[in-house]
């Protein structure tokens, strides 16, 4: 297909995942909510792919599918040419080692009864990476890398601040020398002055270890700062995918425009965009474009036909019937 592109580390094809939703205590009517709806996405080796969207858009489900914490209803994810959902036994274990995750909430993603050292050690033991002495050395090396001191090894999570806990989570993820890191809202729970420290750390570690990031966030400022390419997700679908610069300078999809207009700017003299932000993400009609009820550009075709994610000139991909004209 696109031979000139860098080779993809992860290649997601027509991925689908739905959840059954019952609408009441005694109600037996169920409906399927498609958290991930025919998603095609490549994560290129060495890049940071930003995945942005509002709550419920399916970005965390997509992350879980890549982690193989969920199984899909359809489609596949290829890792170095193999479908990850075919992996079993040692191959699965090896995959799990290559793909690690950093979670949003450093308070709930660390075992409160374990010391920092054993939290970081655990994956090394599970994957039998060496003898006790090697492992200990590796743990101290990782702690040092993420900015924690050797003296802090014996402390429990509650003795650390939020930022330090996130550093422990990062050390744990990096201990196994993964290739891909999925960072799911890694700084959202942190204070402003600490966010910058963690973002800088993630940038440095990427260079040091040659990592690939899938950076999931709802914060457009953070996504912009971190990403090479950005995918925008809305109600289970990727609706726009472009280089970071293009996407922010010239957003194509009406939803991306709305997101950017809603982003609070750190500039009191900036003029607020006129009211183009309306409605809430909700599936009230399964036909046609999922964004149609909030869209100011909608025409008849949007009611009927789901727009395909199409290439638009040199500019990247956009799923909108009117992308070329608006």
């Amino acid at each position: 297909m696109e031979k000139d592109m860098q080779d993809p580390l992860i290649d997601i094809r027509h991925l689908e995942k739905g959840y059954r939703l019952s609408s009441g205590l005694w109600n037996t009517r169920h409906r399927i909510v498609k958290a991930v709806d025919k998603v095609d996405l490549k994560i290129l080796r060495g890049e940071t792919l930003g995945l942005v969207g509002e709550s419920g858009c399916g970005k965390s489900t997509l992350a879980k599918l890549i982690m193989r914490l969920e199984s899909p209803d359809g489609g596949d994810i290829n890792f170095k040419g193999d479908n990850i959902f075919d992996y079993t036994g040692d191959a699965l274990k090896a995959y799990r080692r290559s793909v690690q995750m950093i979670f949003q909430d450093p308070y709930s993603s660390l075992n409160p009864r374990k010391q920092a050292e054993s939290i970081i050690t655990e994956p090394l033991i599970i994957h039998k990476t060496g003898n006790a002495k090697d492992i200990k050395e590796r743990v101290f090396q990782m702690m040092n890398k993420v900015g924690l001191s050797r003296e802090q090894a014996r402390r429990y999570p509650h003795e650390f601040s939020g930022g330090q806990r996130q550093r422990i989570g990062i050390a744990r993820a990096l201990a196994l020398e993964p290739e891909l890191i999925i960072a799911d809202e890694p700084v959202s729970a942190l204070d402003a002055s600490i966010q910058a420290q963690i973002l800088n750390l993630l940038v440095d570690l990427k260079d040091d270890f040659g990592l690939t990031y899938l950076f999931v966030s709802h914060d457009l400022n953070v996504i912009r700062h971190m990403s090479d390419r950005v995918a925008v997700m809305y109600l289970g679908r990727i609706i726009e995918l472009a280089n970071q610069k293009d996407l922010y300078a010239n957003p194509l999809h009406p939803y991306t425009r709305m997101l950017l207009a809603a982003m609070p700017l750190c500039d009191p003299s900036a003029k607020k965009p006129e009211k183009m932000i309306r409605g809430e993400a909700a599936i009230d009609d399964e036909r046609g474009c999922s964004f149609k009820s909030r869209c100011i550009y909608r025409i008849a075709i949007c009611e009927e036909l789901v727009p395909e994610l199409k290439k638009l000139g040199e500019r990247g991909l956009c799923a909108c019937h009117r992308a070329a004209e608006i």
Binding site: Q164, D191, N221, P268
Partner: protein, 326 residues
């Protein structure tokens, strides 16, 4: 514009098993009629406790140790509990971060608002209910007759916050305390809620004390702002002025650590260290051990707010370059 709320040297302390903490430690602020004052700070800086002190809703292990809170010239701290109850809701209302936990889950949305109305106005139940539907319409809830009959869990986060606002607005308060009103919401919903608050503010000539950790929100909604750190106001003044010429190194640090649109570098400026524990505050200026401008005086003597330019106050012995020390 006349002063509506005038807080002078307010100190709120909490007694806990680990010792006494001064959550609000000598804060002086004033809000004029109809104006928005933004209060920014990181977690634990005392911004929520400040609002709760104004409402006199401090939990049992805490108390307002000294200072005064003048509302329309009357000291709220000298009112009896009964007189204070008449003020709450009627003159001063508050909305919170997480509307799901502040709404009663077993009461229909309309009934909750009607209850609030009937606490302050002698109205028959039916009229209060009719008024509650009117209030829901005012906050932009579509189909208010139907929405008045649903329970909070049946509403989206944005709709719940609108219900909270409708309840807060039910008696046309003169002052609205908004504590992180949009933190739990998506960015497009956030923008709509902030628009709604300013719209209602203008219509009712209501003052708003907007508490947030997000500098962008303050930049776009508040004409005046105050920055809090570890229980104290460290800088206050016109928002435009504080963003363009910050005086306190902490304010500058906060502004610079935010990923911004026009900064292409991959390293963010950071504020070293973490927010100090209120149990163990450093001597002198509370920020000195994280401050790049600290001089020896900062480690000994705590600075008070000083006026560096007309209406621009900061508590700093050695301000950011461009400003001369007082």
């Amino acid at each position: 514009m006349s002063v509506l709320l005038d807080i002078q040297n307010l100190k709120t302390v909490f007694h806990t098993a680990r010792g006494t903490i001064r959550a609000v430690d000598g804060v002086s602020l004033s809000v004029a009629e109809g104006e928005t004052l933004g209060i920014v700070g990181e977690s634990g800086c005392g911004k929520t406790m400040l609002a709760l002190s104004v409402m006199r809703l401090i939990s049992a292990n805490g108390r307002i140790a000294s200072g005064s809170i003048l509302f329309q010239g009357q000291n709220l701290l000298s009112l009896s509990e009964q007189e204070m109850r008449a003020k709450r809701g009627d003159d001063i209302a508050m909305i919170f971060q997480e509307p799901m936990t502040s709404l009663n889950p077993v009461l229909r949305a309309g009934d909750q608002i009607a209850e609030a109305i009937r606490l302050h106005q002698k109205l028959p139940k039916r009229e209060a209910q009719a008024l509650s539907i009117e209030k829901l319409r005012e906050v932009g809830i579509p189909d208010p007759e139907r929405r008045a009959r649903v329970y909070p869990h049946q509403l989206s986060g944005g709709m719940r916050q609108r219900v909270m606002i409708a309840m807060a607005m039910s008696c046309n308060p003169k002052l609205l305390l908004a504590d992180e009103p949009t933190t739990a919401l998506d960015v497009t919903i956030q923008s709509q809620i902030l628009d709604l608050i300013s719209e209602l503010q203008e219509k009712n000539n209501m003052a708003v004390l907007l508490i947030t950790h997000d500098l962008g929100i303050v930049a776009q909604t508040a004409r005046k702002m105050a920055v809090m750190y570890a229980g104290r106001v460290v800088e206050a003044g016109a928002t435009q002025e504080l963003f363009s010429r910050p005086c306190h190194p902490y304010t500058l640090g906060l502004i610079l650590s935010r990923p911004s649109m026009d900064d292409p570098s991959h390293h963010l400026k950071t504020i070293p260290g973490t927010v100090p524990s209120l149990y163990d505050l450093p001597a002198g200026c509370r920020f000195h051990d994280r401050c790049t401008c600290a001089i020896s005086r900062c480690t000994i003597e705590e600075p008070e707010l000083m006026e560096f330019a007309a209406g621009h106050f900061a508590a700093c012995w050695n301000p950011v370059s461009g400003w001369s020390a007082k």
